[in-house]
């Protein structure tokens, strides 16, 4: 009962919020609803017994990623409505609807295999005398998934440096523009002539 109610509240709210994200003309609405949706998804994770994942979702997705988006939005004018030319709207919705339909049909059918064995079953850490999702996750993450974990860490580091370098360029300096520099050059030439 409790799970049922919670699931439906979360599911319906998430769907609506994400729909707002996708449909809204206003970036601020989109961002807010997306962030709220993320929070609700972390609620879904709690429902699924993945406490640690839920918290990570909160901290990383809501606390960091979306905040970064919000921060980046300040470079653009967020209060203005986004002007977009929506070409063939019906086609897009048709495709999206088709995809959703396919998913619904596919997942409604009893397609779940029974002969799958859990590689890293829940409750691994109980052998060590401790219990809890965080302990399980830690155990698996630092044994079986150690290398991917380290790689992910390295990737984050690289991404961070890349972000700093990309965004940290001086405002008046163009990374890629050739025309601009040409114009500057012309200006310089004119100055010298004068």
């Amino acid at each position: 009962m409790y799970e049922f109610v919670a699931f439906y509240i979360f599911a319906i709210a998430t769907t609506i919020l994400f729909l707002i994200t996708v449909m809204s003309k206003n970036v601020l609405y989109s961002m807010t609803s997306l962030a709220a949706g993320m929070v609700l998804i972390s609620g879904l994770f709690f429902l699924l017994g993945a406490d640690f994942l839920g918290v990570v979702q909160l901290i990383v997705y809501v606390g960091a990623i979306m905040a970064l988006y919000a921060f980046a939005m300040m470079f653009f004018d967020a209060t203005k409505d986004v002007k977009e030319k929506h070409g063939n709207s019906t086609l897009v919705f048709l495709l999206g609807g088709l995809m959703a339909l396919v998913f619904v049909i596919m997942f409604s059918a009893p397609i779940i295999g029974e002969n799958i064995q859990a590689l890293y079953p829940v409750g691994l850490a109980e052998n060590l005398g401790v219990s809890g999702n965080a302990q399980d996750v830690g155990l698996v993450l630092f044994t079986k998934y150690l290398v991917p974990f380290e790689v992910a860490a390295l990737m984050l580091l690289v991404a961070m440096i890349a972000g700093i370098i990309l965004a940290g360029k001086k405002m008046d300096y163009s990374l890629t523009e050739c025309e601009a520099s040409d114009e500057e050059l012309q200006k310089e030439i004119k100055k010298e002539e004068a």
Binding site: F4, L19, A50, Y61, E84, V137, L156, A159, M160
Partner: protein
């Protein structure tokens, strides 16, 4: 009344489709990023649900790595967005059409 794996998977599929519609529909790059995030989250739900159903932690692991990837994507992607904005003064995809073959 029982909430099974199908519920979560269907929710995940619907959210994915919403993100998909967003990717197809939106022309603003920031919005595209948002739509991508939606899709990533939808997949995360599916992973967590399947992991829960089978009592396997691998599902959660994949979700973690997806979150890590999303974080790096944001770090780099936003940097690029800012550069694009500086260059074009807009984030509209239709403005960025220099990739013509």
């Amino acid at each position: 009344m029982e909430i099974g794996i199908s519920h979560y998977l269907i929710l995940s599929g619907i959210l994915f489709s919403i993100g998909f519609v967003g990717v197809l529909r939106r022309k603003n790059l920031l919005m595209l990023f948002f739509a991508t995030e939606i899709m990533l989250n939808a997949v995360n739900i599916a992973f967590a649900a399947i992991g829960n159903y089978y009592g396997d932690l691998s599902g959660q692991m994949f979700a973690f790595f997806i979150i890590a990837v999303a974080a790096s994507e944001v770090a780099v992607g936003l940097g690029l967005l800012i550069i694009l904005y500086k260059k074009y003064g807009s984030l509209d995809l239709d403005v960025i059409s220099t990739m013509k073959g």
